[in-house]
């Protein structure tokens, strides 16, 4: 068996082909030969039996009529068949009736049988047939047939089959070799390549396939496998490299760690430690191996029972972190350390890893920090404004003032959303938006907002918010402080209310006043107008009486009548003045460009005309400036001023009336007025400056009517006209020394300038 295994594939294949061709071939040939020989034997039997039957049929008459010669003849005729060697007809008693025998055949004894039978004996076939007719037996026929011919045919067939087999086998081997080659070359190639791959241990080659049959698929699979192996080996190399690096890195990290790292077995025995550890405790590696963290390296002040408990917890997978007073074994110097102990599995081995950190400095720093924190907290609490810290919109910290103002305790605020101090969800959300907008625009927020105290009262506060980010914290903190301005707000609101009330009242009064003024004006106008007609009647009829009834009247009567006429004239003047005055209020001014000089000269001329022989000295200073004014009204105003001056200088023996102006610069310097100022100065009686504010009111008189005529309406008219021209009028005086009136007209342009 072993030898067969060692035979090359090609030989095995050819062997298989030969076997697989030969076995069926031999089987087929055997079956065919058996069948053929059976067929031939049966065929021979059939032929012999048929011949025997025919002979039997023909021989009945021969036997019946005892015709041996004819029977012999018949037999010799049948006997021409080469297969039949001998034909014998037995009579019933076994006696031979007739016989045919081939010359070549030996005449042996032949048995008589009384039955239909065929059998092979030796090289012969014996066929017996009973001769019968109408149930009567006449004898038996025996035919001896030769099997020689049959055997020869069978042998010929066998030889043919063998030759055919040899040809088929030859062809099969030929074809088999061809197919085997196509099968074997890829396999041999595969064997070669596999050897190569194994020797070189390089997997980055790919196999060239020969076809797409199963071997082709095998090649594909192998190629995939090769590339996978290649990838894996690359990955493995990478991984090994990475491992090496990581190991080095790990060692580096292990040693460069700022913390001392000690690895224990489960019995608290030191297995390994990093360099920091050695430095921290100022010992060498060898010394360390004989020491225990719980003995030589620890202060006796520690609670060792607790340590044992912690160790048990660590073994139960509960990592421990605690402070520990460590000790340097050589110097006995003690220091506070923070220890972390944890059980881990490293390479299937359970170990306990402990990190020790010298936190002496940290503790000091922490103390400082705590102090400063306390200070800050105190400051925070002592502040007289509400203040606190938010994280997002959640309250993180509040000061005492805030609690006081809001009415909630510290515990009720810290940790909660600031939503609880807002009136509603909507307010809360809206204010959140405002904060966000302000932060993104100006970086802080200064807003007025209304909050709700715990007792439900609303308070208004000015809230200042500022984003605050701490180092090492992802959270966004917001620092806030606020002032309670509820009372301020209420006061402000009251003032606002009062102000608006006042304004309204003033408006109301003004309208009322205006209405009253208008009514008054209309009334005085209509009164004046209606008075004129009856007055004219009185005057005219008095005149008529005086003229036509001169004689009937005595001197006394004439005198009274004249007085009536004079009084009516003076009343008419008064009414005209009143009418003019009230008309002024209603009339609209029509502005024109005129010079003051023309107006003044025209007025002086009119006065001179009406008062001939007067001794008044008029002095007009340079007044040729252009004025934008209603000429008629301006003339009335100027006329009134001049007639006023004339009137109050009438007692003076040398009356002087001056008219002039102050230029812009002078006016500003003297009166603080930004316009040209005109003046009219007299040397009359003047007036008491005490009454200066009443000077321009209607019907105001400072002198008795006996001294000076007039109704006190002139200066009121002037005032009205000046104010209609957006001007101002004022006066200065000393009693008995004369008065000076100053006025401005809206738009005055100095021509000289």
């Amino acid at each position: 068996m072993k030898r067969i295994k060692d035979i090359s594939l090609e030989k095995k294949m050819i062997f298989v082909i030969i076997i697989s061709v030969l076995i069926p071939l031999i089987l087929a040939i055997s079956v065919i030969i058996i069948n053929v020989s059976k067929f031939y034997r049966d065929d021979l039997i059939d032929e012999a039996e048929l011949s025997a039957k025919i002979i039997a049929d023909f021989s009945v008459a021969d036997i019946q009529f005892n015709s041996q010669d004819i029977s012999n003849k018949s037999l010799s005729f049948i006997g021409k068949n080469a297969k039949f060697l001998r034909i014998v007809i037995f009579k019933e008693n076994g006696e031979i009736f007739s016989e045919f025998i081939k010359e070549t055949h030996e005449k042996n004894h032949i048995m008589h049988r009384n039955e239909n039978i065929s059998y092979y004996e030796g090289e012969y076939l014996y066929t017996y047939q009973i001769i019968k007719q109408d149930a009567k037996t006449f004898g038996t026929i025996c035919i001896v047939s030769s099997t020689e011919l049959m055997n020869k045919k069978i042998i010929d067939f066998l030889i043919g089959a063998i030759i055919l087999s040899v040809i088929i086998l030859f062809l099969a081997i030929l074809l088999g070799q061809k197919f085997t080659k196509s099968l074997l070359i890829p396999i041999e190639n595969l064997v070669k390549k596999a050897g190569q791959i194994t020797n070189d241990a390089s997997y980055d080659i790919q196999l060239q396939k020969f076809g797409n049959d199963e071997i082709g698929k095998l090649y594909d699979s192998l190629n995939i496998m090769l590339s996978n192996i290649n990838e894996r080996s690359i990955e493995r190399d990478k991984a090994l490299n990475a491992l090496k690096i990581s190991e080095n890195n790990f060692k580096e990290i292990f040693n460069s760690s700022h913390d001392a790292i000690v690895i224990h077995d489960l019995n608290m025995k030191i297995v390994d430690a990093n360099e920091t550890m050695l430095k921290m405790f100022e010992i060498s590696n060898d010394e360390l191996t004989n020491m225990s963290v719980a003995k030589e390296l620890s202060s006796r002040k520690n609670d060792f029972d607790l340590l044992n408990v912690r160790w048990q917890k660590v073994l139960n997978n509960q990592p421990q972190e605690f402070n520990w007073i460590s000790k340097k074994p050589k110097t006995n110097e003690e220091f506070v350390s923070q220890v972390n102990i944890k059980k881990i599995v490293l390479s299937d081995k359970e170990i306990v890893i402990a990190t020790i950190r010298d936190i002496t400095e940290l503790e000091k720093a922490n103390d400082k920090l705590r102090n400063s924190e306390n200070k800050l907290q105190k400051i925070f609490d002592i502040l007289q404004v509400g203040a606190g810290l938010l994280s997002g919109r959640n309250i993180v910290e509040v000061n005492n003032k805030m609690c006081e103002l809001i009415g909630y305790s510290r515990e009720e605020l810290v940790g909660y959303s600031s939503r609880k101090i807002y009136k509603s969800e909507e307010h809360f959300l809206n204010f959140g938006k405002i904060i966000a907008d302000n932060f993104s625009n100006i970086g802080s927020c200064h807003q007025e907002v209304e909050w709700v105290r715990k007792d439900g009262k609303f308070i208004t506060v000015i809230l200042d918010l500022m984003p605050l980010s701490f180092e090492n914290s992802v959270e966004n903190f917001i620092l806030f402080s606020f002032l309670d301005i509820t009372e301020l707000k209420m006061a402000e609101r009251e003032i606002k209310e009062l102000n608006s009330d006042l304004e309204n009242r003033v408006k109301e009064r003004t309208t009322e006043l205006e209405l009253a003024n208008k009514e008054l004006e209309a009334f005085s106008y209509s009164v004046s107008h209606d008075l004129r007609t009856p007055l004219r009647g009185i005057r005219e009829f008095s005149k008529i009486i005086l003229e036509e009834n001169m004689q009937q009247l005595n001197e006394e009567g004439k005198k009274y009548l004249l007085k009536v006429i004079n009084n009516t004239i003076s009343m008419k003047n008064l009414i005209d003045d009143l009418l003019n005055f009230s008309r002024l209020a209603q009339e609209k001014i029509v502005l024109e460009k005129i010079t003051m000089e023309t107006v003044v000269n025209s007025v002086i001329n009119t006065i001179n005309d009406s008062l001939p022989n007067n001794n008044i000295k008029f002095i007009v200073h340079n007044c040729d400036c252009l004025i934008n004014a209603d000429p008629n009204l301006l003339r009335i105003a100027v006329f009134n001023l001049f007639s006023n001056a004339v009137k109050f200088t009438s007692k003076n023996e040398n009356p002087i009336i001056e008219f002039g102006k102050y230029n812009l610069s002078e006016a500003k310097e003297k009166f603080g007025v930004e316009n040209i100022v005109f003046y009219i100065k007299d040397n009359g009686v003047g007036f008491d400056m005490e009454h200066a504010d009443k000077l321009f009111g209607a019907f105001q008189r400072f002198h008795s009517k006996k001294d000076f005529e007039g109704f006190g309406i002139g200066l009121a008219t002037v005032n009205k006209i000046i104010s209609k021209h957006n001007g101002q009028i004022w006066a200065t005086s000393e009693l008995n020394k004369g008065a000076t009136f100053f006025f401005t007209i809206g738009e005055t342009t100095n021509l000289n300038l």
Binding site: F58, D62, Q64, F65, N66, I70, N93, D134, K136
Partner: protein, 182 residues
């Protein structure tokens, strides 16, 4: 065995016939000439078909064998006639003269004159009577089958003209064994 055979008549007949033929065959050479001839006559009927219209198919009428002239058969024909059936009918044997020739199906003509023969033939023509004789020359004269001796063996000749004329159908197997007279 003999007792059981008694009860079956047919079997007895058949057995007896077998025994006789066996005996007769086995002692063939010892039989005399007419025994053989009687046997031959019976065997002829196997190879010859009688014409249509003859009484041969009428089962009520037995197969009648007539012997004309000197009866050389003595009892030999009788023995046969009693034991066997021909054409499935009983056999009746009689000696006939001219008048009773017509009542035969088969007629054996012993030695007689030419005149007599001619007369018999004239009577028998077209009458479905198979004529058999054993005299030289009778075959040629119109007898259907005529026995003759050759090398001490009994042979027969058949006049096919006569048989054809009288519409007997003779089996080729019989003709093969016979000497044919045209």
């Amino acid at each position: 065995m003999a007792l059981s055979l008694v009860f079956n008549k047919m079997k007895i007949k058949y057995l007896t016939y077998l025994i006789i033929t066996l005996i007769s065959d086995s002692i063939y050479s010892q039989f005399d000439e007419y025994t053989v001839k009687a046997q031959f006559m019976e065997r002829f009927t196997h190879y010859i078909e009688w014409p249509e219209g003859s009484t041969i198919k009428n089962q009520e009428i037995p197969f009648r064998i007539g012997v004309y002239g000197e009866n050389h058969f003595e009892n030999k024909l009788n023995e046969i006639a009693e034991l066997i059936e021909i054409k499935n009918k009983k056999v009746e044997l009689r000696e006939v003269d001219f008048k009773s020739i017509l009542d035969c199906d088969m007629l054996f003509i012993s030695k007689c004159s030419e005149e007599e023969l001619n007369k018999i033939i004239r009577i028998a023509v077209g009458r479905s009577i198979l004529l058999i004789s054993d005299s030289d020359g009778f075959g040629k004269k119109g007898v259907h089958i005529n026995f003759y001796n050759k090398n001490d063996k009994i042979n027969f000749e058949i006049n096919i003209s006569s048989t054809r004329r009288d519409t007997f159908k003779i089996s080729s197997r019989l003709l093969k064994l016979a000497r044919i007279i045209e």
